[in-house]
């Protein structure tokens, strides 16, 4: 497996050279999909829902301590691609993933690999805040309990507090940890979900339009949080807001109808898009 991955990597590397940018209308990715110190490496990923192909040969690296944003018109496959990274697509009937995706050099679609612990390493925050109908405390303690991360109540308390602090929620909820998480405001719920994800110490956090259900103030708080989290985690965020992508991410990937059209430094992409489709999207002529 690893040899083919390398071969594919070389091919992509080769393709991402000047040769590609010289034909900006092609559907091959423009820009360098690789990074110097990758945490996740995806090569030639195809995804099918039944007989319909939703992702077509996408290659992309996610580096350590960086935020990668994925943008594109709706239905272009951003969520689908994101769900490949923690194998959440496994739970969807009829969904098939091909190609190679590695986390720290380990193929996560390896036959022998159990997707369940993988999802603790690659956490996910959803579009609509989805706290469990349990207390705030239990929401955060859920993951650690399942994985047996703590040995006693005191350790668990400490972990819950640390997670809530990292998510910037501690001061708002420390007096009502026993109240239902569903009773919080939308923005607080989303930060609770982030705290819940952090509590199992993931390496990568995937976020699928985490702010689309939030008001502007809550959005600003979550964006600030994402920037802080970058210090410890790799983050891939899907967003439909280009301003958000510009504010929170270092690299940006533009998807179009299942193809990864262009990847690059965020400010490069937004100031100087190389592909016609990217430019159309960014200037608002499309999507």
């Amino acid at each position: 497996m690893s040899t083919t991955v390398e071969a594919m990597g070389q091919r992509v590397g080769a393709m991402s050279a000047a040769e590609l940018s010289s034909r900006p209308d092609s559907r091959a990715t423009v820009g360098d999909v690789t990074v110097a110190n990758p945490r996740m490496v995806c090569r030639e990923v195809d995804v099918w829902y039944g007989s319909k192909q939703a992702i077509k040969g996408v290659s992309l690296d996610i580096g350590k301590n960086e935020v990668v944003s994925m943008i594109g018109p709706s239905g272009c496959g951003k969520s689908t691609f994101l769900r490949c990274l923690n194998r959440m697509n496994d739970t969807i009937d009829g969904c098939r993933v091909e190609g190679s995706i590695q986390l720290d050099g380990q193929d996560i679609y390896d036959k022998g690999l159990d997707p369940v612990p993988l999802r603790a390493q690659v956490g996910m925050v959803f579009q609509k805040p989805n706290p469990f109908p349990k207390s705030i405390y239990e929401n955060v303690a859920y993951g650690p309990r399942i994985h047996g991360l703590t040995n006693n109540k005191a350790e668990l308390d400490a972990l819950v507090e640390a997670s809530l602090r990292k998510a910037g929620l501690w001061n708002e909820v420390k007096d009502r940890l026993d109240q239902p998480g569903t009773g919080l405001s939308g923005g607080q719920q989303q930060r609770l979900c982030i705290a819940r994800t952090i509590a199992v110490s993931p390496e990568v956090i995937l976020m699928d339009e985490p702010c689309s259900a939030l008001d502007p103030i809550a959005t600003a708080i979550v964006e600030e949080l994402i920037d802080e989290l970058r210090a410890n985690y790799s983050i891939a965020i899907v967003t439909h807001s280009m301003q958000q992508a510009a504010r929170v991410s270092q690299r940006t990937a533009y998807f179009h109808m299942g193809d990864l059209i262009e990847v690059g430094e965020t400010n490069e992409i937004f100031t100087n898009p190389r592909h016609k489709l990217t430019e159309d999207y960014i200037t608002g002529r499309f999507g």
Partner: protein
């Protein structure tokens, strides 16, 4: 000259009224071209005319058919020659009137026919023919009158669409009141009969007495004349059978619901769900003889071989089979609430690295619990009210016992035994059935209200 002919004729008239109402609306507007000067579409004017032609006439027809016989018999009685009535009690007069009616319609008569009776019967038949004709005329007149009224009202400014809407609303209100009033009537009649029962037997004895032996004396000096109406053994029997049923139905139903909604591949689900629903469609009497003829003897033999003494009609047998009957009920209700837990909850749990069973037991079930409890309460109320299985398998002996291997009886079984066969309708024995029915109704109603409340609350939570 049957009245169904009249009904068909009326329907024909309504069709005609529709046609002409529509035509008239169009012509009153000044032709097809100016149809948009009408307030409503022409079809509404047609409907309006049809409803006016049909509904008053049908109402009259219903009333007339309902009362015609009463009135004719009253006339008949007032005209009966005194020679026929000589020395007859009111009951016997009633019988004779019955005979005359049968004679008039050509059916077989119980006594011998005297010429006098034949004369009265002829007179009755004549009256009947006359009344039938009168009804025909009146109904058709009203129908034509209604049609004429609609005709005269039809003009472009008439708001036919709104009128039709109102008429339909009135029709719907009338029909739903029929449903509600019937329910109310049943409840009230049960209530009044129960009150009569409680006048002769004190509620204290009924609700707290432990001896149930509901017979009343035919003669004052009869042995064992005084009945005992302590319903506690019935309540405990009902509770025990229901409890056994729930012990069977809740675990099996819940597990199958979890399997079907969370684990089963689509193909298995598409097979298993209808199968369970078939189970729900088996008539309870079939479960009854399954319980009485297969399960009860089986339990008896099993128990005997282990050295227990088992009654041939045991609470256990009835409870087990009732449990099987309720499984689909529990499982389909639980499946509904489990499916109502949003997919986002499952995704959230999986995304934290939880396995499927961790997700189910720690997230899905707790989230669905209120709804599941509601469903179980509904099932309990089903179990308490279930009759056929216990009639066939639980027995009649009102034992006050905690041993499921004994024979017990239930409230529903006793209601059945109190009311089957020839009964006097004013003895405490018969009226005890109403008191039992009322108790049963009160309990199941309370359970249903609580259960529906819980289920509704639960649904709102995820809206």
């Amino acid at each position: 000259m049957h009245s169904s002919t009249l009904l068909i004729l009326l329907l024909g008239l309504m069709a005609l009224a529709y046609h002409f109402g529509r035509k008239r609306a169009i012509s009153s507007a000044g032709g097809i071209a100016r149809i948009n000067t009408l307030h409503s579409l022409p079809a509404y004017y047609g409907l309006y005319a049809a409803l006016w032609a049909g509904i008053p006439a049908m109402l009259l027809m219903a009333l007339w058919s309902g009362f015609q016989n009463e009135i004719l018999i009253a006339i008949l009685k007032s005209e009966l020659p005194p020679s026929l009535m000589d020395g007859l009690s009111t009951g016997q007069v009633g019988l004779m009137v019955n005979d005359i009616e049968n004679l008039a319609s050509g059916a077989i008569v119980s006594g011998s026919v005297t010429p006098e009776m034949q004369a009265v019967a002829d007179r009755y038949a004549q009256l009947q023919r006359f009344a039938d004709w009168a009804m025909w005329l009146a109904v058709l007149a009203i129908a034509v009158g209604g049609m004429g009224y609609a005709w005269s009202r039809t003009q472009p400014r008439m708001r036919a669409r709104n009128r039709v809407e109102n008429i339909f609303m009135v029709i719907l209100v009338v029909f739903s009141s029929i449903a509600i009033l019937t329910t109310l009537g049943i409840v009230l009649s049960v209530l009044f009969e129960s009150l009569r029962f409680f006048q002769s037997i004190s509620p204290l004895e009924f609700f707290f007495g432990t001896l149930w032996s509901p017979q009343t004396a035919l003669r004052a000096d009869q042995v064992g004349a005084s009945g005992a109406f302590g319903a506690v053994p019935l309540f405990t029997g009902t509770l025990m059978v229901s409890a056994i049923a729930m012990l069977v139905a809740v675990p099996i139903g819940l597990m199958s619901a979890i399997y079907l909604s969370e684990y089963a591949p689509r193909r298995v689900r598409s097979l298993a769900k209808p199968t369970l629903e078939i189970l729900a469609g088996v008539p309870t009497v079939v479960y009854g003889f399954f319980a009485a003829l297969s399960v009860a003897p089986l339990i008896r033999e099993l128990g005997m071989s282990m050295g227990f003494s088992v009654a041939s009609e045991s609470a256990l047998a009835a409870g087990l089979v009732m449990g099987i009957m309720i499984i689909p009920f529990v499982s389909s209700l639980s499946e509904d609430v489990i499916n109502a837990v949003p997919q986002a909850m499952r995704d959230g749990s999986y995304a934290l690295g939880a396995t499927q069973s961790e997700t189910i037991w720690r997230v899905i079930i707790p989230a669905a619990l209120p709804g599941i409890v509601g469903g179980i309460l509904l099932a309990v109320s089903r179990a308490i009210g279930e009759t056929m299985i216990v009639v066939m398998a639980a027995g009649l002996a009102a034992n006050l016992t905690a041993n499921p291997l004994d024979s017990v009886t239930t409230v529903t079984v006793q209601i059945v035994t109190l009311l089957t066969g020839d009964q006097e309708f004013d003895s405490p024995k018969t009226m005890a059935a109403f008191a039992l029915g009322l108790t049963l109704f009160a309990v199941t109603l309370t359970l249903n209200v609580i259960a529906l409340h819980i289920v509704r609350k639960y649904r709102e939570q995820y809206e």
